[in-house]
């Protein structure tokens, strides 16, 4: 196997036939084993692509099982969610400030004592 043949064998599973560089594509045109290899890959890629059109039948009861398992959906309208952000952020800031003050006071008292 020549260096060019090896390069083709590496390139085909990486970029496919259409992605071959000009020198490799030229080699494939003139080398019978490489051309055969390119055709095998082309067929394989087409078959894989064709699988996108195939669907297996889902087991009976899948849809009903899903519907039985659905909990309530937490539907929150967009404006309401935005409105909630301010109070939550305010509570977080106040809580952090209170905790910080408590720690500082404790340290101050310890030093004073």
């Amino acid at each position: 196997m020549s260096i060019m043949c090896r390069a083709v064998h590496i390139a085909l599973p990486t970029v496919g036939e259409s992605g071959l560089t000009a020198p490799l594509a030229g080699h494939v045109d003139s080398c019978v084993p490489c051309r055969a290899e390119a055709i095998r890959y082309r067929t394989m890629y087409r078959e894989l692509d064709g699988l996108a059109l195939e669907a297996q039948r889902a087991p009976a009861g899948l849809a009903s099982g899903v519907l039985e398992s659905l909990g309530p959906v937490a539907v929150v309208s967009e404006p309401a969610r935005r409105d909630n952000r301010v109070p939550i952020a305010a509570v977080a800031v106040v809580a952090t400030a209170a905790a910080g003050t408590a720690v500082l006071l404790r340290l101050y008292r310890q030093r004073a004592a």
Binding site: P13, T14, R40, Y41, M44, Y45, R46, E47, L48, D49, G50, L51, A52, L53, E54, A55, Q56, R57, A58, P59, L62, A63, G65, V66, L67, S69, L70, G71, P72, V73, A74, V75, V76
Partner: protein, 191 residues
């Protein structure tokens, strides 16, 4: 059971209703997409029983996330992403992988997008290629399926499988080579 074809407007209507918590509308969406979600799940986890669990969980996750669906991607693409994430969560929990006999798998064409010529070619090749895919290891098969069947980008695959883009490319290269070798074996066996 053949589902009747649903126009994009009707689909959009079902999605909008489901986003507002309409269970019947969501049930319709499940009925419309259950085969393709299940198919993707089987291709990822191989075991049909586990794939059914994955599909069910994926739809439940989708229901919870419905209010967040903005329509940037197609609804089916969004469901596929949820299915891949769910399958990978299950994969982490389950170590068992069983191979069901392939003749037990009932295959039917997706009528809504069927091109008769392409579908004919695909149907004749599907059992062999599907069988070969199932022989790949799970982590390699997932990359090949997502790239070559569903057309995901390397970046999307890397993000959803929690691997690097380089790892995705390496697995794809290995997977395609192995698949090519397996298909050759089937051909030799048939002749």
């Amino acid at each position: 059971m053949e589902r009747e074809r649903v126009e994009p407007v009707q689909l959009q209507d079902l999605i909008e209703k489901a986003k507002l918590g309409d269970r019947d509308a969501f049930g319709e969406l499940v009925a419309l997409h259950q085969n393709e979600v299940f198919t993707l799940a089987v291709r990822l986890v191989r075991d049909r029983e586990l794939a059914a669990d994955v599909s069910q969980d994926a739809f439940i996750r989708a229901w919870r996330a419905m209010p967040k669906f903005r329509g940037d991607a197609k609804f089916s693409t969004w469901l596929h992403r949820i299915t891949v994430n769910t399958a990978w969560t299950h994969r982490a929990k389950e170590n068992r992988v069983r191979l069901d006999p392939l003749d037990a798998i009932v295959t039917e064409p997706r009528a809504a997008t069927l091109d008769p010529v392409r579908a004919g070619e695909a149907a004749s090749a599907a059992p062999k290629i599907e069988e070969a895919l199932m022989e790949l290891t799970e982590s390699i098969r997932a990359v090949v399926v997502l790239k070559d069947v569903y057309g995901w980008t390397h970046t999307e695959i890397a993000d959803h499988l929690s691997i690097s883009v380089t790892a995705a490319k390496v697995r794809l290269h290995r997977g395609r080579k192995e698949l090519r070798r397996l298909l050759d074996g089937y051909q030799d066996g048939a002749s």
